[in-house]
Symmetry: C3
Subunit: 228 residues, 3 copies
Amino acid sequence: MDKTPKNINLGKNVVIEKDVTIGENVTIGHNTVILRGTKIGNNVQIGANCVLGIKPLGNNQMRKADTYYNHLVIKDFVKIGNIVSIYLGTLIDKHVFIGDHASIRENVTVGENSVIGRASIIELNSKIGEKCTIQTLAYVTGDSILENNVFIGPCVSMSNDKYMGVHPYKLKGPHVKEGAKIGNNASLLPSVTIGEGTIVGAGAVVTKNLEKKQIVAGVPAKKIKDIQ
Amino acid sequence: MDKTPKNINLGKNVVIEKDVTIGENVTIGHNTVILRGTKIGNNVQIGANCVLGIKPLGNNQMRKADTYYNHLVIKDFVKIGNIVSIYLGTLIDKHVFIGDHASIRENVTVGENSVIGRASIIELNSKIGEKCTIQTLAYVTGDSILENNVFIGPCVSMSNDKYMGVHPYKLKGPHVKEGAKIGNNASLLPSVTIGEGTIVGAGAVVTKNLEKKQIVAGVPAKKIKDIQ
Amino acid sequence: MDKTPKNINLGKNVVIEKDVTIGENVTIGHNTVILRGTKIGNNVQIGANCVLGIKPLGNNQMRKADTYYNHLVIKDFVKIGNIVSIYLGTLIDKHVFIGDHASIRENVTVGENSVIGRASIIELNSKIGEKCTIQTLAYVTGDSILENNVFIGPCVSMSNDKYMGVHPYKLKGPHVKEGAKIGNNASLLPSVTIGEGTIVGAGAVVTKNLEKKQIVAGVPAKKIKDIQ
């Protein structure tokens, strides 16, 4: 740690590597590991057995870094549960809540007041807006865009690789627009756009772009009605 | 720890906070954290890197507490794997088995001889009966009721929020009755009831209540036949 | 540890039990636990808060051991993320990459150059070939066979228990043949065979054996076309 923070509440066996900065009134649970280059704001709560600030391991296709690349930045009033892993190069904005067992990769931004659910996974290069809810065990693939006020139900699945590893292909995840809602266990295919305010039913498989303000369901997903 | 338990087999770097009680013949793996107010019975086995007795963080909608609210209670002969998280206010009854990476929230009861699978998640306020099997990566949402002898296949998904966070709405999870079986990766919508002994096929999406002793499948789930 | 390895890079609070062997140029992250009987090759990287070499707990139906049974064997150049759990009796071959939060049971083999994704689960007795990709949150059930060059998309689900715990029944997982690809969130039923090079669409539910070189989709999965 660069210098001793004010009012820190440190658990037992906590490991804090060098080049870490920690604000005031921070709680860090037992056995949590804060790796090199992590920047923690004020009034942050972190649970036990987390690993924060992970350096990517063996990823040769990694994109060019953005501003935050060399640091994990955790802003004020963030709450992080237990057994969570988060990578370097990611920004967790103010008042975000991250559930237990969640994992967030490098070069991700999570906007203010969003909730990253228990055991959900956010892959690299994804942008999550403000006031989003990502529910338990949901999977946000790499290179996804979730605008503000998006709701991703539990166990939702996304993919970003149209050719499943065969062709050389620019990976592109879904783009879920403002206020759209995805029901539990729905599947979104690579690069689909979900229009503003559109609702995708539970278990639906979205294979192509959806207009705004629709309700869709089924396999493959079809429009049931427009939202007035 | 309140007093030294008999025949305890403690791993390295184990953290045990105050107001914890531990019975006889208990094993606790390396780096496991037992938080304040946890009550562990006799002949309990706990793996490494677990966090037990977690206090809920930032949940303003939390319901009124039941009897167990201030404690996590783990009864005799329970076996808990590695990297597991369990909250305060929950009761794990005798001979329950909890797989690695599982997470169980507050105000849950798990009945005798039930199995909580690897990386499965049980959300708050849910009641799980006796001799139930919750398989790997299954998701039991909050406010669910699973009666005795229920089988939840791997990767099953449930939800409890009909309006996905929009309307003010009393959350209600599924009610799965005695002996019902849910196939792998099926989805149950908020508040559906699954009748006694009914079988839901793999990948089915259950959108409304199901009578007892049926076999259903598809999206949305439809009856295939009655069980004689 | 049997003897001090050359050029080991050990984190803080690492626990290494006896009868562990470690090769040259190995990195082990903070708070990781290496249990008795683990054999680690050269140039292996292991993240923080892992538990490796776990002895199965309370599994009475366990099969006869194979050669590796009493050890977890991790070969040269393997990379393991953070918060990973792996059991005894399993072989992780050269150049395998294992993502964070993954869990691999006993009596599994993972072939050279395969990738086991983040938070994916591989159950006991499964055989995974070379150059396979198992993506994030995918579930490979017990007694599965994945041949070489298989691609399992994110959140894919498999099962191996046709009668969901009722009948006495020999468990049998899917057999996915050389080069087959399974789309995200698809479900494979017990004992189905997926032919060489066949592609299963996202969200499909595979209820019976599939010939080679087909594209299938839907619930239940039906052939869309042959692959030329």
